[in-house]
Symmetry: C2
Subunit: 232 residues, 2 copies
């Protein structure tokens, strides 16, 4: 590869990085707003997340097209190739996190319609941890920091534990049914959305490990990155 | 690209296609077994799905490594490049469908523990349609058949409708609570897993459309391929 070509590819990659971070920041903000909309019973805040998702969808498509163009025109190899493939996967995870924020925001709309009912679960710590993992996974991407990426993967267990606690609370509450059970179910499902956000953050961290080391770090334990919908 | 190089790449691509189909067949079988395990209350059948998932996970990692190797060594362009990228995404969707089959199988284990309780929902038609979509999306991949792929995308609405019917039944049943509400919730969630299987089949079909036309067909309507966790 000539120096000029390499410089041009380097510039494209810098540009990709910037766009991933912009998308990441937007997605992070959506997660924050969606969770806050539940506790604040604020349907307008929830609507911002729901309506703003089309932008995230469009940004994902644009970013993917850019990656494909770089692959086609610059034919990167070795670490550059891994980088582009990694960006495509991170892009996909960010878009899915955006979808999960929409799901949470939809539950916030439901919660807002019954302002006087007490919230049955405290999502605070779980949401904090999931958002922290997302932020850290994006930091590990910027700095290609393998150690930080491994830390994110390790933290996924914490979120799983928190989800189990909420699951336990759900089992207790459903046996002494409140007046509107359906709302309880939806509010319970928020803990699953948060858990999946943490899973996607873990995926991003794993992609960074792949970018840096060239090794695929998925499925270390059979259950690690499984989408956990019907767990015990 | 010289003729020899092209022949070699062609062979690699044929080999990839074979492996995607093998993985697809295995995933299809897992979906079939998982749904059957619920109605048959057969925990052993469910265990086959749960225990067999490690193989699917490994096959996904192997297939992805093969794609990366081809990208690095053969530097495919145009339709070949789109094909490899498409295979990477289809591979990912198949693995996630495998995870969803595990979730369904886990609910089957729960259902098997209460043999005499009537099943609250009839998943038959929804499961049939989701499996049909998966099969057809894989057929559209083999034949690079754009029309068949579009048909799969269109059929996703049917599955969404069926899920709404089950959701309605769930709302009715939860207001006249059965003795074990938690089981009802889990059994209800099976309809979501099935819906997401159909979503992934739709993703596969969209990847085929991309392979054939070079156009990204996602997010046609803002809600189309959203992961629907908390829908109304």
């Amino acid at each position: 590869m000539s120096t000029t070509v390499r410089v041009r590819l380097g510039r494209k990659i810098e540009d990709l990085k910037k766009k991933v971070l912009e998308l990441g920041a937007q997605v992070e903000e959506h997660v924050r707003l969606a969770v806050q909309a539940i506790s604040a019973r604020d349907p307008l805040m929830a609507a911002r997340v729901i309506d703003g998702d089309v932008e995230i969808d469009q940004a994902e498509v644009d970013l993917e097209e850019e990656c494909l163009e770089i692959l086609a025109l610059h034919q990167p190899v070795a670490i550059d190739l891994r980088y582009i493939v990694g960006v495509m996967k991170i892009n996909n995870d960010l878009e899915r996190i955006g979808d999960l924020a929409v799901n949470i925001a939809e539950t916030a709309v439901l919660a807002a319609s019954r302002k006087h009912a007490e919230l049955p679960f405290d999502y605070g710590p779980m949401a904090e941890t999931a958002r922290f993992m997302l932020k850290k996974s994006l930091d590990s991407f910027v700095n290609l920091d393998e150690k930080a990426a491994f830390d994110v993967c390790a933290q996924d267990d914490e979120v799983d534990y928190m989800k189990h606690v909420i699951h336990r609370q759900f089992e207790e509450k459903i046996n002494t049914p409140p007046p509107r059970l359906e709302a309880l179910v939806h509010l319970f499902l928020v803990s699953r959305h948060l858990e999946r956000i943490a899973d996607h953050a873990t995926n991003i961290a794993e992609d960074v490990i792949y970018m840096v080391t060239g090794e695929i770090h998925r499925h270390r334990g059979a259950l690690d990155v499984r989408e956990t919908e019907a767990e015990k």
